[in-house]
Amino acid sequence: MGKLPSLKEMYPKFAEEFEKTKPPSVLERVTPEAPPPPSFCLPRPDGWWRQPPYSKWIQDRGREPTAYELLLDFIIGRAISSPKAMELASSAPSRLIVYEIEHPQRGTEFVRMFLNPTQVIEGPPEEEPDLWIKMNYYDFVPVLGGEISVFNAVYEGRATILGNTTAGLDQYDVMTAILGFEIPRPRCWPRGHP
């Protein structure tokens, strides 16, 4: 009787072939990785703020605006010109919202925003804010530019928010009103809810 060949000889590419027999895993649909950022959330080339539509409301300071300048220009250049947004912002309860914006070169910048009366101030908060939003500078830009909603960045894992979501909804309402849309508030936390 001849010697039996070893398994390795019989199936030289066993592992590879075996892998092919497996059906695709259901886990593929729930891979832990976040989806890749959309193109408009990637770092922008120098001078982007001089291009429309951003040039319509961003003041050209000869350099890329800081997070504070960006939010201030947004309020001055866009919010004030929208009566609906002003109405919403003045009907909301007083809110303190803090943005912690991470810029790839400049590092962390803090901006505080008050809703009702509206005010934008630079620097970290003194009091406990209602809402703390932490995001990348180049996510913040398209949010203000109306290219993407802030919740999109949050739920796709590029931004985090902590605190009173109602304050977030208040601000979201103002932002969407500026862009010309209105989204009805959810029944659980209607407009003005503490």
């Binding site: 008050f114 101030i121 909603s149 739920y155 985090t160 979501t165 936390w189 209607p190 809810h193």
Partner: protein
């Protein structure tokens, strides 16, 4: 420096204003109670308590006539006296112990139905549907026939054709009912006693299906939405599985372990009769294959101290428990996130299906049966926890989850498995739930114990996280966060002391896959070391697993055959409408199996 100074000055002003705002803001609260009146919860509570749901004081407290306010308790008191007289020994007696009924003994509406039941009606001894649910699970065993068929063709040289399989299936119905097939002078069973014993086939192949007698088939195409059927059939493939259901009476007399014995014996006998086998060696191999090889039992054996056989509740894996649930089977197999983004109404159907399953099955198996009955002996506390899950409250709160995800998650492609991302929705929804308890004193009275609120808040958190991400582990993490961190720090109270064990000691093991530490949630079970002590957690794990399945758009949680086996319309308990069955039993409209009437004297 100048700029710094200006900023500092501004900051000073701001600090004062910030403080002022924080104080002023919440004076608004009462204004928003008006808005709360529009919630379904308001009318549910109004109906349940017959009082203003916002009233903090109950002027009728202590004045409702004690236990006499409940018809059921009146009946019990009367029957207790009757029993005492009949047996000459005191029985149930309201004169001892504390005076029950100082508070309102409110009946409650079971969600998805129009049936109001009293608390006592949901006790597992009073509620025959709950008993039948457990019996239907315990009496099920699933066996793969491919091994047996291969053995017959290769080893015994027999031919297996559609005709022989159909003959075998017909014979099997007879043997499952205790009929003799190979020997004279055997004791047989009165067919009326075992009318719920039968066997049915599952296959993923259309060709095999067409060849079989339709009466013996659990038809995946007919029972499931086409998208689900397609996935199930693909997973089951050409294999033939047989679902064997032994009589209810048998598992009641022995225990769940009896199912596999009965099924193996009667299955072997059916093979012997239909294929004309003798006492040859192949019989032992057949018996082996029906008892051990590719046999799916509904539950594992438990460790020594628990001392239960297979097919008993403590051994059910959570994945199987969620496969018993059928409420979603008519809905298309789509990812929940997509559905929620597209259409709120449609998403609501998924969420209702989920609560039907976890409230009607997971909460009952864990709280009522495992903890209330098997573990603690049936004092009836954990039954009340399960009843928190029967009510409409969870659906009501889930509506907000759907509304939030519909409006604010548009364009989100996938929610990554990162805690910082998931916590946003989890925080929102559990804070909303907690606020609901604070706004509605009647709701807090309705869910009067910490374990009730743990059950609701934990399930809501687990289902939110799991539906959005499709991950059961993330669901469980959200649930533990909700109970052990958010709820505990917000109110400084959780459930009863047992909850500390799971929610604190169990946390570091939550994502561990090492044996004796953690596991996939689907593979954990009621007797899982860190979770086996306390009411409320069954619904939570059920929510994590079942919601994750709905979140992924899958058709089953752990086993496609178990999923299909419980879609069987011949089952006595309807696993698609568990709450309806329980409600019907509450008003004594549900007929269980396993009654001994045919052999009892007239009574």
């Amino acid at each position: 420096m100048e700029k710094r100074k200006v900023l500092d000055e501004r900051a000073g002003q701001l600090e004062a204003r910030e403080r002022e705002y924080v104080r002023e803001l919440y004076a608004l609260s009462k204004k928003y109670l008006e808005v709360e009146k529009e919630r379904p919860l308001y009318s549910i509570m109004q109906k349940t308590f017959g009082a203003d749901p916002f009233a903090l004081q109950d002027s009728q407290m202590y004045k409702r006539g004690g236990y006499r306010q409940s018809k059921r308790k009146q009946e019990f008191a009367r029957l207790g006296r009757q029993v005492a007289v009949e047996r000459g020994l005191p029985a149930y007696n309201r004169a001892v112990g504390l005076p029950i009924g100082q508070r309102q003994l409110e009946p409650f509406l079971i969600s998805g139905t129009n049936i109001m039941v009293e608390q006592d009606d949901t006790h597992h001894l009073n509620n025959v549907a709950i008993q039948q649910m457990l019996d239907d699970i315990k009496r099920t065993v699933i066996v793969n026939l491919d091994i047996a068929h291969r053995m017959l063709t290769v080893r015994a040289g027999k031919e297996v054709t559609p005709e022989t399989i159909n003959l075998y299936l017909e014979t099997l119905q007879h043997t499952m009912c205790g009929g003799a097939v190979a020997q004279e002078h055997m004791s047989e069973i009165n067919p009326l006693l075992v009318k719920d014993a039968y066997a049915k086939v599952i296959t993923g192949s259309d060709e095999v299906k067409d060849a079989l007698d339709r009466r013996f088939l659990i038809d995946i195409d007919q029972l499931f939405h086409p998208t689900r059927a397609e996935k199930l059939k693909e997973a089951i493939g050409d294999a033939i599985w047989i679902v064997l259901r032994i009589p209810t009476l048998a598992v009641r007399m022995a225990d769940g372990d009896e199912a596999a014995r009965w099924a193996a014996m009667q299955n072997t006998m059916a093979f012997i009769a239909s294929y004309g086998l003798s006492g040859e060696h192949i019989i032992s191999d057949l018996a082996y294959s029906f008892k051990h090889a590719r046999v799916v039992r509904m539950g594992n054996k438990m460790w020594y101290q628990r001392m239960r056989g297979t097919n008993e509740p403590g051994g059910f894996p959570d994945g199987y428990i969620c496969d018993f649930m059928q409420a979603e089977r008519d809905l298309p197999a789509r990812r929940f996130l997509e559905v929620a983004q597209e259409d709120e109404e449609e998403a609501l159907k998924y969420s209702r299906a989920m609560h039907e399953g976890i409230g009607g099955i997971a909460a009952v198996i864990d709280n009522v049966l495992w903890l209330g009955f098997y573990m603690s002996g049936g004092i009836g506390f954990s039954n009340t926890v399960a009843s928190a899950a029967y009510s409409e409250v969870m659906n009501e709160i889930s509506m907000e989850l759907i509304e939030l995800s519909h409006r604010y998650m548009q364009g989100v492609r996938k929610v990554p498995l990162r805690w910082e991302t998931v916590r946003t929705m989890v925080n929102s929804i559990i804070q909303y739930t907690m606020e609901s308890y604070e706004k509605f004193p009647t709701l807090a009275e309705f869910h009067w114990g910490g374990a009730h609120r743990v059950s609701v808040i934990g399930s809501i958190a687990a289902s939110s996280a799991a539906m959005l991400t499709g991950s059961s582990t993330m669901g469980l993490m959200a649930a533990h966060y909700a109970i052990a961190f958010a709820m505990k720090e917000g109110w400084l109270r959780t459930g009863w002391a047992g909850q500390e064990i799971q929610d604190h000691l169990g946390l570091p093991y939550l994502c561990s896959m090492r044996p004796e530490e953690g596991n996939l949630v689907e593979l954990r079970g009621l007797n899982y070391p860190m979770q086996s002590f306390s009411a409320a957690h069954g619904a939570i794990r059920g929510a994590a697993v079942y919601a994750a399945m709905i979140g992924r758009g899958s058709s089953w949680c752990l086993s496609p055959v178990v999923k299909v086996a419980f879609a069987d319309p011949h089952l006595i308990f309807d696993f698609k409408h568990p709450k309806l069955c329980i409600a019907k039993a509450g008003i004594r409209q549900f007929m269980p199996a396993g009654e001994r009437d045919p052999v009892l004297p007239p009574h």
